[in-house]
Amino acid sequence: MTIKHSEEYREPELARQLVAAIRKTSNKPVQLMEVCGTHTMSIFRHGIRDVLPQTINLLSGPGCPVCVTSQQEIDTFIAYARQEDTIVATFGDLLRVPGTDSSLQKEKAEGRDIRVVYSAFDAVKMAAEQRGQRVVFLGVGFETTAPTIAASILAARDMGLENFHVVSAHKTVPNALEALMASEAVAISGFLLPGHVSVILGLNAYRPFFDRYQVPAVVAGFEPTDILEAIRRLVEQIEKGRPQLANAYPRAVSDTGNAKARAVLDQVFEPVDANWRGIGIIPASGLAIRDSLAQFDALRQVPVEVAEAREPAGCGCGEILTGAKIPPECKLYRKACTPENPVGPCMVSSEGTCAAYYRYHG
């Protein structure tokens, strides 16, 4: 069966032509960074690295939400799981991320009530069904996910739920791009901007970043020809010396994005400084629950004590998230660290660069 709005963009002939166009245009060595875990997976799955000319080096940036979550935040999640009379609701990919001395999965094995949900709204329903228990939802993700959690908080308010709380560890993308450009770690020649973050934000949200750094930046979709077309445009801009902010995913991304989702996001959250694994504090790159909805903020309603966190010894996940290293350059890769036995989050999440390398490069 054909999958509409998907299969057309997998057409092998079109992909071949785009690759030929890229090969023809590309002369200068360039480093292009994608900042979206779904791009990382798609690039590996479709073998896009293998068909590009040697001049093009694709780097994976901080695009995997679970991976950029700081160790302190992971430890905080674990502390909530240890609370009495608490159900922790979480997306599945957080379970196996190692904290300083435990993981949600270990806590679950020890009998803590940790439940995997597909949507934050499932956690609201859980709270409605079990009013005697506190439900704490672990909020991780970028601008794509944060509105879904914001809408869930508003739903909980409308339902009069007093037992639903969220730990907001969300991160936002545009300021992280600035931090990557400001850092000396890697020279980035162009960015593949995330598709679904841009669905919400719209192209215009990157304008201040682009005006400041004048670095080629193209929004890309997730099918092979979407990604190849975005790469083709980046290479063309670089070769011509004319950087642009462009949209190669117009069927889903507009200049202004999803205004309704952004209004929900703004109603619930406000910008706050956030700590990114591998990068550190980036100003105004996180989302805190506003005072007006403080009753849903786990951090304020049910504060937990967390000792100073330690990242796993020898794990280079932080450097991998900034493109400074690739997984085989980590001493633990494939030895102490495998998807069955992950040492760091980059090997846990299917969107993590180490996991993608392991799966597709061996």
Binding site: S6, Q17, A21, T38, Y118, F121, A151, R251, A252, V264
Partner: protein, 84 residues
């Protein structure tokens, strides 16, 4: 966490939609979508429809992509290639 494949809204009950992705049906909240209609193609993320696919733009950009890719390749002049 992203589901990159668009889904079709087949039924709407208040703010919940029944969506179909390649023959598999699921529920998705429509709270973040402006004016959802049965028959719309949408992107679904973490249980919420977050955007409609713009059908006209989709067709147009595919046509553009096909034309541009073909032109760029046909354009190739083997003698000029060596000098870049």
């Amino acid at each position: 966490m992203c589901l990159a494949i668009p889904s079709k809204i087949v039924e709407i009950n208040d703010n919940m939609g029944k969506i179909d992705v390649a023959g598999v049906q699921r529920e998705a909240s429509l709270l973040l979508l402006e004016d959802p209609r049965v028959g719309d193609w949408v992107i679904v993320h973490a249980g919420f429809a977050i955007q409609k696919i713009d059908e006209a733009t989709a067709q147009e950009s595919l046509r553009y992509l096909r034309e541009a890719a073909q032109l760029l390749v046909e354009d190739e002049d083997p003698d000029a290639a060596a000098t870049g």
